[in-house]
Symmetry: C2
Subunit: 198 residues, 2 copies
């Protein structure tokens, strides 16, 4: 409990360690892109990354930690893309919908990877809450930036962002489990974004 290995006051990694970490994340994403959550098997991640199983567990204390870290990675990539090509709509609500749907289509391109990351995210228990929180914060930033305001968002808008984030997250889950179509997801996001228009 008191000695969490990675994030808090992380001792700087050597170059080799950084490389190992990258290799592991890359392998995880690759395996996930094929069979999804179940296909990310810790023994195989270790072997394909050229790392012992114990080492893998030193870098990522569980499979869920590993996949949540993968999600952080992917979110950051997405964020860079979005900053290069910001949404085109005028109204904040429409801008946010556009941004999230674009992100959605990005996930759609690697549905198995998406499944793996989202399963991990929702299955995470308290021991991963710091990392999950980081993902949540990244998402909130992504939404807020999409709004394209020139002044800080109001209290109501911040509350709306939370609901949009909930909707985004939950809609993603229902889509991944085959219980909602993309069209339905879009409608749900548009509905939630109505909260921004006030």
């Amino acid at each position: 409990m008191t000695t969490s290995p990675r994030p808090p006051a992380a001792p700087p990694l050597t170059e080799r360690q950084e490389a190992r970490r990258r290799r592991i994340l890359h392998t995880a994403a690759q395996l996930a892109s094929r069979g999804g959550f179940d296909a990310v098997q810790m023994r195989e991640v270790a072997e394909s990354s050229g790392v012992a199983l114990g080492t893998l567990y030193r870098y990522f204390p569980s499979k869920v930690h590993l996949l949540v870290a993968t999600m952080q990675d992917q979110l950051q990539l997405m964020q860079e893309q979005l900053r290069k090509h910001p949404p085109s709509a005028e109204e904040p609500g429409a801008r946010v919908t556009e941004t999230l749907m674009r992100t959605f289509r990005g996930l759609q391109r690697e549905p198995q990877l998406a499944e793996a990351m989202v399963r991990a995210l929702t299955f995470a228990d308290r021991s991963v809450s710091a990392e999950v929180d980081q993902v949540s914060r990244l998402t909130a930033v992504l939404i807020t930036e999409a709004m394209g305001l020139d002044h800080p968002p109001s209290r109501e808008q911040l509350a709306a962002v939370r609901v949009i984030e909930h909707t985004w997250h939950s809609a993603l889950v229902t889509w991944l489990s085959g219980r909602a179509s993309i069209a339905q997801v879009r409608i749900d996001l548009e509905t939630a974004c109505r909260l921004l228009a006030e």
Copy 2:
């Protein structure tokens, strides 16, 4: 794939079978109420229910199926309670918030059980989607009834119900993983319920 054992065209259960099913669900809820998801161990569920492991798996094809069925059970109990004591507020939005917060407090009384059920629900893959969908439908009914309309809900209201359900579900997850307080959950629900006031 083609021979799913339980839900489609379920052959009627004998009395003994119905009793076994009940015993299993009861045991599962009991174990969950203590240690949560991890404490529901299939061998122990079987033993405590006086049933062989293979039989348990015949009734519930996986641990997730078992816990999702438990959630259906609990939701139905909650629904009966709510029908006996409907919310007191006037406005649909306030009525829904009141209802969901009351449900929330119900879950709070058995937080470990709640954790087990919600973890199962969000971890469920496609093989459980029918059962998860049933939970979703129950929740939607619960919300719609809470609105207390004397006419069918409008298209906008139905869309709002979906977003409220997403918010409810996702807020529950963040609360269970310790990343949001009850107060914050209430705020999020109130925000989502603003969509009903139009």
